[in-house]
Symmetry: C2
Subunit: 348 residues, 2 copies
């Protein structure tokens, strides 16, 4: 007798107001298609040709400092700039050709001077520097811009053009589409229930247990009930934080700890530098009240069944809706079942 | 003096109610990252090991017919099945863990017995068979299901597990998320303007000309004003069709012609088997009135600058909103500028 959740069903994402199609029975089908090459060749700690390594020169001629921990610079080819198109020059604003100007700035954050490392291979105090750098840059940029996106693309399969560990910050005046959606949903829920959506969600997941991947005093990581990507996770604050600028000393430390645990679990799952895009969703600055908002980060990793088999969000997913092949509960269990010592440190 | 559209701006997609960030100045940045291998090795017309070639046996033991044109079978590993989970078995339906059952079916459509061909290399009468097969299967499935998705994933980079030319149909009772959005937008526009959104859009684009890629008596192809993917196109009916079951003989023929032209233009742009996901958006069957709806197809191709450099929709795109590097107008011009004889037929 099959469990209801082993048959096709749809789940609703109340945070982003969208659905996902779940087809757990499809897990066992044969698959022959693109195989991602694993590039586990030796990566050196320093690379002459890397524009992110300490003391190297970047394309625009600037020279990086000989930084000991993290290093931040303005993106030389940012998608957003402090100057923007002149609104009146933009073509006729009809219902069918609406556009608007954009101002903001893009920064790059090097996570470590060591070219070969990723968060999963950095120790807690090294990761703590990344957390502090995020916080400081958030505080600087959110003083000028409503919407600050802190994110990391990890791995060539996620379009990351540089193996050197780094993330980005894109900050701008307008609310991005995903922040707008997350805000609308959290606001509507708060209005109805008088408590924040993500507070209730944290409570529910702690009680349920089946989707928990990692937990400590201040943070909870789950494969959310409505996860799209096979091993997608949601990192949630247990407190009333609404942005990363509010982290206190303890919360910064426990955040470094849980980031270490999560990224090690990811790497150990398929014994590879587990690729993902991750990013923080902070309350936009222009809210009248942000009582409904809770700080959270999304991890969207593409791998499905091994270091070389990824999930393609194509065809049906692009034209109809996201589809996944294993349940969120199963994914969480697989991530819980691995050890928390990084595979590269195993004694042979 | 820079044109307003050469600076960062956002454009609104009134069909899907979403925004895209446009950063045309970013086109010239250096890029070093994943390079897709071009697999232009000789592909044979028949492959013993291909489960889609005529007369071959598939994984489930069934044998394909020796089909001369197109061939349709029920997907042996469909994501959706006629049976579904029992609603009452699904976990507590709270605001935070909502789910619903799904019923439907998945079919595979082989476009040609020739293993080596793609739409771009098939002649008009061969493509006409594909159009007729789409229509017939649409009519069959829409008699039972509200929402019929006809689509094609082309190329390994689009998760296509088989080079043999084929597409898929996933049909189901519920309206998928993208159909729901397209319906809501078209309905709201119709209510306000008393004319269909896509009729007005067709008129506007024909007058403007700058985004047109191909046109004939019954069809228009544009890079839509709000395109996300670098060379995304929208194929629009010039008539009052709401689904692919309504095609008459002439419209089927001109559709085959414009599909040939579009796919050849795509292939010629970077001289490769241009990958994409494409699919039809037909009016769902359960509408009270479908006067507001117009039949259309989306083409979402991932390539950005060459046969080996694709656009990654990662990081910012996943966590904030879609971002593109060249304007829709520039993309349309590049697609207009290529010849309409397939590069493989060029005399050396
Ligand atoms: O069924 P296929 O062609 O093997 O699978 C492909 O198309 C499906 C529908 O777009 C996707 O869900 C899969 O991720 C993709 O690999
Ligand atoms: O700026 P990068 O790291 O070269 O570029 C990468 O991240 C950006 C932000 O997510 C994306 O727009 C690009 O498609 C991706 O290749």
């Amino acid at each position: 007798m099959m469990n209801a959740y082993e048959l096709p069903h749809r789940r609703y994402n109340p945070l982003m107001d969208e659905w996902v199609l779940v087809s757990p029975h499809r897990n066992n089908r044969p698959w022959k298609g693109e195989v991602e090459a694993i590039s586990e060749e030796h990566i050196p700690s320093f690379d002459d040709a890397c524009p992110l390594c300490p003391s190297n020169k970047r394309a625009n001629g600037e020279v990086n400092t000989n930084y000991p921990n993290t290093f931040v610079f303005s993106n030389d080819f940012g998608a957003i700039m402090p100057i923007s198109a002149n609104m009146t020059e933009l073509s006729s604003q009809s219902l069918l050709t609406r556009s608007e100007t954009v101002t903001g700035e893009c920064r790059v954050i090097c996570f470590s001077p060591d070219h070969s490392k990723t968060l999963a291979q950095m120790n807690i105090s090294e990761i703590r520097h990344v957390v502090d750098t995020w916080k400081q840059n958030y505080l600087e940029l959110s003083a000028h811009y409503n919407c600050v996106h802190i994110f990391e693309n990890k791995g060539a399969v996620m379009g990351c053009s540089q193996p050197h560990p780094h993330g980005q910050i894109w900050a701008h005046q307008h609310r991005s589409s995903e922040i707008e959606k997350a805000n609308t949903s959290q606001e509507a829920y708060f209005h109805q229930k008088k408590s924040p959506l993500l507070d209730d969600y944290v409570q529910m997941e702690i009680k349920d247990k089946s989707r928990i991947v990692a937990e400590n005093a201040d943070w909870l990581v789950v494969v959310p009930y409505w996860a799209k990507w096979p091993f997608e996770t949601l990192l949630l604050t247990k407190h009333s934080l609404v942005d990363i600028g509010q982290l206190n000393n303890d919360q910064s430390q426990t955040l470094a700890q849980i980031l270490s645990e999560l990224t090690i679990r990811y790497d150990n799952l398929f014994r590879c530098r587990f690729p993902y895009s991750m990013g923080w969703h902070c309350a936009p600055k222009d809210l009248q009240s942000n009582d409904h908002w809770r700080l959270h980060a999304h991890f969207y990793p593409p791998l499905l069944r091994s270091a070389t088999v990824k999930k393609f969000m194509v065809g049906y997913e692009m034209l109809a809706e996201s589809q996944r092949d294993l349940t969120a509960e199963k994914a969480a269990q697989l991530l819980r079942d691995v050890v928390t010592v990084h595979y590269s440190l195993e004694t042979q």
